[in-house]
Symmetry: C2
Subunit: 370 residues, 2 copies
């Protein structure tokens, strides 16, 4: 079960003040704790278990000002004062090719998008390959061609790399790790800390396409549907948004863990409430149908060409108009708002006036989708 | 067989002019060609097959000014004119822990050293983990602690990262990919193109320690010897060298493929001859003995805490004195010189006045040493 876990709340459109809220907030603010002795697939799903692993193992050991929950881009300052973003992702998706893209596209788009979410102009990419002995060279060439295409489309150069080969059986075909670097224009400040109650939450398009496309491409479900990954570089669309809404507070691409998990991370780190509206959330009919049949909430399914933006209330209209004018933002919508209470909590408002709490993803219903 | 391949030359201390030299040079200048349909372990060894794969697959697809044979650090210029180095490496070493270090130390030292070889001040590191389901969390914590120690020692911060988990059997414990960024001080220009006949070749210490330490730690050879990896960050030692010898032309750490392969890459890209002297090359007695018994030439064994430097002839003395004053450079030596002929060729001069051509590494006698 990976629907929003546990605690359903049905207190109607308004929230009762007092003890109930306080208890919920206290619960929400608790960081997940690592209780495992061994690594499980859930630790790689981008949800609660991932956060617990990152906290207990990586943040604990590497603690420094830039390191905010491994998995985001870091912002660092050069001696000259110029600010750079640095980001990395490993890609282990199976199958390597799926409707709408391949591991090669993902490896570029994923890192380009992570950089764009910091406000940086993505510029340079490194690519490291772990290859399994016996992997066909022709297949490698095709994947590398996809990377070259994706890089050209995103305006980035793949400037350095590495190749390692492990014996047959020691890896699963190939894994690609990219890292990216870009400069952040002067004056651009995006952070969870700048998010304020009253701000609007925008989403650049439909949700769930990538995760479901890969899931179905795997072929081990008895389900066929014409679903294509949305893998794309959103860096150009981010520039369009920031030009129209320069006071934009925060950006994030809802990849592993989906919109539900990413909104929880924001709610916790900014200590605000996020109230999402179900009605404007776009889920393609095929994706909605597949999610329904598999009992998966599209709020937790990964996307690879979308982003969430928190914008100032008075810039939301201009932001949406600008997004709609770009092909990748045609289905952009205002999907929620930032509230003071319940702090550190994400709530979904249904079209019928009900509400339910949206937790972080628990477990991993869709392993290896990126 | 991984001794220097084929062509042995025994023309004495001087070289005959004419047709023989011309033919050798033409042969040397040929880039290795990819003839395989599938990936083999040799493609990951850092020698001839790796160069062929990189040329045919990666350079071909990603072609851009910064990309010089994937595997080095790239130097890029920011809009402000400030120059940055970006480098990446995947680490797949087995066993994960060996005398003198672990995959955690290597993952930091490897990337720090690659940056240092460009003249950059290594500053920020990203770390991406591919974990196999079932990997013990305690072992992960130890490796991560090694990374934190190595980073602290090298003066770099691990600022961002990623964690992916693959099902049991889809990876071999864990793989770590690091990328690193550092700024290059103004006026510092290191490149193969600046290497001139008459320049001196320095080596910062003994060779073969890392590769043989990992090889023996694997335990599948019936050979025991007290050999420790030399894994270390050489960035501080590089600063010491550059302060004493500011006209230094080129730096390179002889990791996979060893000193033999790295010198060949320099000889080819600068179109010069490199004449190495066997006598001053330091090989620890235990390493020399193990190499002898296994039929492996230490010139092709990987190092992880050493570098080669090509320095101006009039600065060689100052450079050596400075290196000797630092603990990591105590055994530094002048090991050769740059010649005009035979171009694109590396020659080893034995203590008895004989010479032999040193080719790039062929095959992979020591898989997964980094």
């Amino acid at each position: 079960m990976n629907r929003s876990v546990g605690d359903y709340l049905d207190a109607g459109p308004g929230f009762a003040e007092g003890e109930v809220i306080e208890r919920i907030e206290a619960f929400r603010r608790r960081r997940p704790r690592l209780r495992d002795d061994i690594v499980t697939l859930a630790h790689g799903a981008g949800g609660k278990a991932s956060a617990a692993l990152v906290d207990a193992v990586f943040v604990e050991a590497f603690r420094n000002p830039q390191l905010e929950s491994l998995g985001d881009g870091a912002v660092v300052a050069l001696p000259s004062g110029e600010r750079l973003a640095l980001s990395t992702d490993s890609f282990v998706v199976q199958p390597l090719r799926f409707p709408g893209g391949s591991i090669g596209h993902l490896a570029i788009h994923g890192t380009v998008n992570d950089l764009a979410m910091t406000g940086a102009i993505p510029s340079w990419i490194s690519a490291a390959f772990v290859l399994e002995e016996g992997f066909p060279i022709d297949e490698l060439k095709e994947i590398v061609a996809d990377m070259a295409d994706a890089a050209a489309g995103a305006g980035v150069a793949i400037v350095t790399g590495d190749t390692k080969v492990v014996p047959k059986g020691a890896a699963d075909g190939l894994f690609i790790t990219t890292a990216g670097v870009g400069a952040i224009p002067v004056g651009r400040e995006l952070s969870a800390a700048s998010v304020r109650p009253g701000d609007k939450v925008l989403l650049s398009g439909s949700i769930g396409d990538h995760g479901m496309a890969v899931m179905l491409a795997r072929g081990d479900l008895e389900l066929e549907a014409d679903i294509h990954s949305d893998t794309a570089a959103v860096s150009e669309l981010v520039e369009v948004l920031l030009a129209a809404a320069p006071a934009t507070r925060w950006l994030r691409d809802p990849t592993r863990g989906g919109v539900g998990t990413v909104c929880n991370e924001l709610a916790r780190s900014a200590n605000v409430g996020i109230v999402l509206d179900e009605e404007p959330l776009v889920v393609q009919p095929m994706v909605a149908g597949a999610c329904e049949m598999l009992g998966i909430d599209p709020l937790y399914v990964a996307n690879e060409g979308k982003f969430l933006a928190v914008v100032a209330p008075d810039e939301a209209g201009a932001a949406l108009a600008a997004l709609h004018a770009h092909p990748l933002g045609a289905e952009a919508a205002e999907v929620g708002e930032v509230t003071e209470q319940p702090a550190a909590t994400v709530v979904l408002r249904t079209p019928f006036g009900g509400t339910r709490i949206v937790d972080m993803l628990v477990g991993d219903p869709l392993p290896r989708i990126c």
